[in-house]
Symmetry: C2
Subunit: 365 residues, 2 copies
Amino acid sequence: MERIHVTYAFFGENPKEIADLIRVEQTIEFPYELAPSWIQDQVVGKIEEITSSDKTNHLITISYNPDVAGGELTQLLNVLWGNASLFPGIKIVDLKLPDLILNRFKGPRFGISGLRKIFKADTRPLIATALKPMGSDAKTLADMARTLALAGFDLIKDDHSLANQPWATWKERVALISAAVKEANEITGGNSAYVPSLNMPFDQVIDAAHSAKDLGASGLLVLPGITGFDSLRVIAEDETLALPILGHPAMLGSLVTSKEVGIAHGIVFGTFMRLAGADISIFPNIGGRFSFTAEQCLEIADRSREKLGSLNPMTIAPAGGMTLDRIPEMIEMYGKETALLIGGALSRGNLADSAARMCEMVRSY
Amino acid sequence: MERIHVTYAFFGENPKEIADLIRVEQTIEFPYELAPSWIQDQVVGKIEEITSSDKTNHLITISYNPDVAGGELTQLLNVLWGNASLFPGIKIVDLKLPDLILNRFKGPRFGISGLRKIFKADTRPLIATALKPMGSDAKTLADMARTLALAGFDLIKDDHSLANQPWATWKERVALISAAVKEANEITGGNSAYVPSLNMPFDQVIDAAHSAKDLGASGLLVLPGITGFDSLRVIAEDETLALPILGHPAMLGSLVTSKEVGIAHGIVFGTFMRLAGADISIFPNIGGRFSFTAEQCLEIADRSREKLGSLNPMTIAPAGGMTLDRIPEMIEMYGKETALLIGGALSRGNLADSAARMCEMVRSY
C-alpha cells in the first residue's frame, strides 16, 4: 500500500456526492473540473470503495497521495480531518498509513519494553498516580509525591490542570516535587518518575520541558488537545530530553464523543498519540467518570499495540475515577502491558496505606 | 462580575449530578468531600443556576475563580473544556469572562478599524481570496497572486493546506508570491497583502512567521485547530511581526458540529479567535460546502463584534464555496464590517476578469 487510506462513516444520503466533496476538500479545495488533469489524477484523493448498510449508513474509503501530507504531522492531520471536520455526519473510522508516511515518524522512544526496563517491571503493569488537588501548595504536593514514591509508584504525574496557578507556580512546584521524589528514590533504591504537566503557553513549552528535566523530572505530560499533537512530537523527538512522554486527553474528547462526527477513539488515542511519540496514552476508562465504552477502550488498546511500521508499541493508561477494587478487572481487560493510573481514590483514608496497598495489589497480581 | 461564567447545555437526566461532576472535574479532579474546605470554597467551581426545559434538556451555569486559569490561554481553555470534552451530552453555549481574565489578553492588534486603515477601505467590506489548487508550482501560484493583486484584492491568502508539498515548498512559494504581490502593488499603488499559511511543525511556526515577514508577506494565516490557539496568540502578540493575523477553522469543526457535545460556534470562532488575537476569523458560511446555519454564522459575527473588555472587535470572513452572485446577500447578512472571501469560483472563466468583477461589485455596492 503506497497511499494513505481513510475510511469515513457517513450518516446521510448520497454517499458518492459527499465522497467527491471530501476528496476534493481535503486536497485542492478547488472546483475539480477546473483543475489540470494531472492534478485531478495525482493530487486529488481517490474514492476506493463505498459500501452502504442502508440509505443513511455508509462507509467511504478515500485514498490520498502521501505527498499531499508534505512530510509533516501538522499537514497529515489537516489532510485527514482539517476542513472535513466542518462537514456534518462524517466520522473517520479507519486509517491506514503507508510506510512512506510511517517512516517519517519516530513514534514512542521507549514504548512498552523501554518503560519496563526503566521501572524494572519485567511483566507487571506500571503503577501510576496523579498529584492533586489544585489549590494545594507546592510543599503539600511534594509531601504527597514523597509518600507515593516511598510506596513504590513508577509514575507520579501532575494533575494535568496544574499550570501556573497562584497556589503553586510551575517552577516552584516542579523543583520541590522533583527533589522530594529524588529523596524517596535514594531511600528506596527505586526509580519513581515525577512527570510534570506541560500545559503551558506555546512559546514556553519547550523551555519548560528542558527546565523540568534540569530540575529532576523523569517524564513529561503533554496535552496535545491544547498545545497540538505536533508539540508532543517535538518534545518526544528531542534527543537532549529523551524522557518518557505521557499524552493526556484534555480537549480531545470533542474529536471522539459524537457518534456521527469526529474520529474513532482508537485513531485519536492510539494512532495519533503513537505517531506523535507518546510512550503512554492516558484515556478515560469505562466505568469511571466519563463516556467511553469497553469497545472504544479496547480499540485504543489495539491501535496502541498493533503493527504500525517500525514504531514501538505504546503503553496505555486507562484512567479517570478508577479505584483499587478495579485493578484485577483492568488487568484482565487490558493485559499487563498497561499503566494503572489511580488518583484521587488513594486519598480516601491514609495516603501511604492506600499507596502501599495499590503497589502490593499490582505487584502480587 | 469577577468570576468566569460558563453555561453548559446538558442533554440527559439529573442535571445537578452532572453539574457537580463538571465543577469538580474542571478544577480539582479529586473527591470533593476529601478536599480541604477552603479548596472546596475557593478552587472548585460553583453552580450558579440550573434551568430545565424538560427532563433531558437543561442549562447549567457554573462559575470559576479566575485563578484556576492561572493567567494563561492554555489553562483557560483547559478549565472551560479540557476533561469536560470527554463527558457525553454537554455543550458550552455561553461564556462570560471577567475583566481580570480579559485584561490578560491583547486581542486583535488591528481589529476592524485597523484593517480599514491598512487597506484604505473606509466603509466597504474587505476583498479576500485564496491561492490554489494544491499541486500548482510556486511560479503558477505567484502568477495567480500577481493577477489578483493587480485587480485590487486586499487579502490574498494561501490555501490553508499549502504546506511543504513537493510541488511548491513553503519557502520558495512564499518568496515568489511575496515578490509578485509587491510588483503588482508598485504598479497599482495599492496595498494588497499576501498572507501565507503557517500550517507548520510546532518548532518551525515562529521562525516561519518571521521568515514570511522578511520575504515580504503582509499577513499570516494560522490554524489554531492544528497548532493550538496559543500559537495564534503568540504570533499575534509578537511586536516584531505586528502583522494582521487570519485564523483558519481547520479541525475546529469537531468542537462545534455536534448538537449535543462541544462548544457553540460563536464562542469558538468568535470569542476564542478574538481572545487569541485573530484580526480576521474565517469560518464556513451558510450555503457553501459546509454545515453551518444562518443562526450559527450570525452568532459568530455577534461574538466577534460585541464588547469584550477592551479588546478590538474582529473582522469576520464567511467563506467556503462562495460565489460572486452571493456578494450582495453576504453584505446584507453580515454588514460591511466583513471580509468577503471567494476562492475557487474566481477561476471559472478568466481569473483576471472574475477578480476585477468581484472588486468592482464590492467597491460599488
